[in-house]
Amino acid sequence: MTPLYDPPATLAAIRAMQLADSGFPSGVFAFSWGLESALADGQVCKRTLADWIAAELRTRWYRFDRMALAGGHRLTGAMLTDWFHTVDTLMPAEAPRRDSTHAGDALFASACALRIELDPGAKAAQAQGIGHFSVTHGVFLRACGLDLPNALATSALSMARGAFSAAVRLGVAGAISTQADLLALAPLIAELATEPDPAALPASGMPLSDVALMRPRSGRLFIN
């Protein structure tokens, strides 16, 4: 008799939903990755918020975070530590580099508290101060049992949800309207959450958000 559902796939979906949920403690709620400054400077507004997030998904996430995460998911041991070094080298600007390791530290703390054993190669990287978030996220999601496609979808959804959540807390958008925007972005997230070529290196470049991310601001509510 054919089962009505596929238990492993259902379990993977449940795990992915839990790990992408805003209630999952990973520290990301305190980062806006440039959105706060961009909103303050008028580079993005309520009307263009969803476009900004779509652009972030297509550029920063697709070209950099996706690659970094995939390496973290695929590699182990010394090769994983080397991958952290590679990603660190590809982040020449100090502010985003520092914030990435700061966010990574929170994810390490979450794993430790949850007794989720991360790969020794990742722990070695954190001890060296290069535990970047995206790579750590790949290691973490693999340790939680997610395969790479689900890990990528979880990461992309988390990035978009986090940006909308930041906009809500900054008073720019409503919690209901942003859910409509997030629903509309789902096909894009699905389209982008594809496995990268293992030989590919992360590369990013979105001048507006890169500059916004590095711009110092007084009276900031978010870490960046």
Binding site: A109, L170, G219, L221, F222
Partner: protein
């Protein structure tokens, strides 16, 4: 992890930072190796104030920004504070105590038991003598309730003995300590409570 982690929460302006400033010298006198984490809402104001105060070496005061949510960073998602505390313990082996000061919040703020071993809630008489009667989770659930600025009671029309009695009653007899942090009044009692209930030394 070996250091006790103690949360200090309470409304804006109630005297959380002043309490830390007041207890740090007494903790040092008692040989209790201490570090502090502040959770400022917008700036590093509280951390800078503690660093400037000179009661601790500057690198023993770490600031965690709260992403517009002072309660989230101590309760729903305390991982940034946990990471900061872990880092402090790695940087200063042998720490006895890490004080984690919440950003100013409302009476509903509470600390996650994943983050702290013990937490106290600081209110002040200038906020009104009806605060204990409002029974927010901060008032009810904190291990220790501190009522600060007790000396202001006559100036703001507060019957302080009654406020103290009502606070003790709503907490079911849980400890309530009055202080005037700026003048050092009641601080010895807070430190003694921490030593007895948390540090065991």
């Amino acid at each position: 992890m070996t250091a006790a982690r103690v949360g200090i929460g309470g409304p804006v302006g109630s005297g959380k930072t002043a309490l830390i400033e007041a207890i740090l010298p007494r903790l040092a006198e008692s040989g209790i190796d201490t570090a502090v984490i502040t959770n400022d809402l917008v700036t590093d104001e509280d951390a800078e104030r503690l660093r400037r105060g000179g009661r601790l070496p500057p690198d023993r005061v770490r600031a965690v920004q709260a992403g517009a949510c002072p309660h989230t960073v101590i309760r729903e998602d305390p991982t940034l504070n946990m990471a900061a505390a872990d880092r402090l313990e790695a940087d200063f082996p042998g720490l006895d105590l890490i004080l984690i000061e919440s950003g100013g919040d409302n009476l509903a703020s509470t600390f996650s038991p994943d983050l702290v071993d013990f937490w106290m809630f600081v209110i002040d008489v200038a906020g009104g003598d009806d605060i204990p009667r409002k029974k927010g989770p901060g008032i009810l659930q904190a291990n220790l309730l501190v009522i600060n600025k007790a000396d202001l009671a006559p100036h703001v029309g507060v019957d302080f003995p009654r406020m103290l009695a009502e606070a003790t009653a709503v907490r079911g007899g849980g400890t309530v300590l009055p202080t005037v942090c700026r003048k050092g009044t009641g601080i010895a009692g807070v430190v003694e409570h921490l030593r007895r209930e948390v540090l065991f030394k």
